[in-house]
Symmetry: C2
Subunit: 351 residues, 2 copies
């Protein structure tokens, strides 16, 4: 396997970020130095994927003291934090990362500005490094769930591009292959942003992992015809009871997997578990502009005046999920207990 | 409601056909006079939808004597019939219409060529007229299943554009509205050909019927959130036991509707019922070129070298179907009996 793809990383005083709006036709790296630039990159999907958004937000907060030197550091930090928190509502990693940066800021508040910035940058680097480490662990743990020769269906992109590197669902794929268990992937294209066709196919092909693309409406057919060994997806937020918010279409695949006795796995770092959220109905679901549905490649696909809905995520009730693969172990029902244990284990590891 | 849209009809010695590849941005009518031209129009989706394909094929057979006058009429007829039968495998209306034209040809075989052609054209005209009549009956019968104020989800295009006029699933929508029961429509876009976003939205908007477009991966979410009163789809072939082949994605919506206790209806003329086909596994499923999945509006959406699958139809087992709305009545389980009765009733009506 090639060197791990890191779609966003710090280089000196800037965040370097692979623009995911342009893949696979163009590989353009952005250089972002201000919180506002990073907020725009998150909102407009230059970076997406819950763990990657968390990392980007951490750097946004770390860079917050640089401008507006006429106001106190606390005010600059809080302004940036508010701006970053307002970009997208569903992925909990965004809020968890900002909370972590807030904690660090509180610890160094009052010190010289260079010291504060330095401490914040070290903290953001840690968010990124721990995310890659979590993905590698998810990959090693999840690999055991896949028999050699398996065909794994995935949705959207829960890969290197959705994290600081290696990936969650695609981390399990990589982990299986590294453990000598060859697998192939069936990737649903994931309209409207086409993360499956554009991003998952791109990063798997880059690593020489066999992948075929299907349209979103083909998932049920392939699950019903046999030949799919498992479905593995990522997550944007996992409630305490295991209900999982993820890219729109995940719920449908989970129901169809259960109907056809195919195991359905969620792969996510413990930073995606939100124990403060009791169940799926409490997860805020983002609805984006319908224009993103009604035109493809700049061409309108529906007649003038027709409206559309763009619900960006759905919630899969825990009863459809066979297991949740985290960096702290594979959680099984009842999730209220297993997820709480995993989160506690992650916290104790850091202390 | 405006005058019924007839997407294909005979004008003198030619078939006039609204090119469905270009809608909604352009309304271009083709004028086709030869079986080979009509075969290309079917194969390349200028005309699609099981009943409409049947009508087009009937005219293709009717125009078969015009060229190659050095060979006997029988040979010309059979060549055209073979060519038309080879265009697409799943929709049974194609084969039923050609069978009907064959029967008529056998009755007039040996008469002067002009008389044969005239008889064949009258027969093709009857196929078209009976299809519209069947759709109107489906609309009247199906309307009773919808409460005023219902939101109906549909998939692909089972509308006027898929028939000689009025539509099957959308015929039920029109029938409800004409019966004073206002309904609104949630149309899944139906990748890769986008029949939902392009065609269903276009013809409903034309008739002033409220319609919103969703991507294919949103169907489950909307079914689970309440607010959808029923799903109504068309059919390409219905087996004797009620198993139904229809546009890819139909099976998924049927499973998701059942999981959420939303009634799932198939609307189709009895010409779509294939009593010779005992069950869904015997229905041939077309697989088309993966290029149609991998590029949108001329732009590639996946990296070079990545492959795709384009399974054009799936089979929905009868156990997920609440009722099948035909021109001869609403068929309920056990379908083996109710469908046989409907087909017998249609035959006796013609005798």
């Amino acid at each position: 396997m090639r060197e791990i793809l890191r779609p966003l990383y710090r280089e000196g005083r800037a965040l370097r970020l692979l623009d995911q709006r342009l893949l696979p036709s163009r590989e353009i790296w952005l250089t972002l130095e201000k919180p506002a630039e990073i907020a725009v990159a998150i909102r407009e999907l230059a970076v997406r994927g819950a763990p990657a958004i968390g990392v980007a937000a951490a750097y946004g907060a770390a860079f917050s003291l640089r401008s507006g030197r006429t106001t106190p550091p606390e005010e600059r930090f809080q302004t940036a934090r508010g701006l970053l928190a307002s970009t997208r509502p569903t992925a909990v990693n965004l809020f968890a990362a900002l909370e972590r940066m807030q904690t660090r800021f509180s610890q160094v508040r009052g010190r010289p500005e260079e010291e504060i910035e330095s401490a914040l940058i070290v903290e953001a680097d840690a968010v990124a490094a721990e995310d890659i480490e979590a993905c590698l662990r998810i990959g090693r743990l999840g690999a055991a769930l896949l028999e050699p020769g398996s065909t794994v269906m995935t949705h959207c992109n829960a890969g290197a591009l959705a994290t600081a590197g290696y990936g969650t669902a695609l981390g399990v794929i990589r982990g299986a292959i590294e453990a000598g268990r060859p697998v192939r992937v069936l990737a649903s294209e994931t309209r409207p942003f086409l993360q499956g066709a554009r991003l998952t196919a791109w990063e798997l092909a880059r690593d020489g992992i066999p992948v075929e693309v299907i349209t979103d409406n083909m998932g049920g057919h392939f699950l019903s015809r046999g030949g799919v060994s498992a479905v593995i997806v990522g997550a944007d937020r996992i409630a305490a009871n295991g209900d999982t918010a993820n890219k729109i279409g995940t719920y449908s695949l989970a129901v169809l997997a259960k109907e056809n006795s195919v195991p359905f796995y969620v792969a996510a770092p413990t930073t995606t578990v939100d124990l403060a959220c009791p169940e799926g109905s409490a997860i805020p679901i983002e609805e984006r502009s319908s224009g993103e549905v009604l035109s493809i490649a700049g061409q309108s696909i529906a007649p003038p005046g027709v409206t559309a809905r763009y619900v960006a995520f759905d919630v899969t009730p825990a009863r459809y999920i066979t297991a949740i693969i985290t960096d702290q172990g594979i959680c099984r029902p009842p999730y209220t207990e297993s997820l709480a244990r995993a989160v506690a284990s992650a916290s104790s590891g850091k202390l």
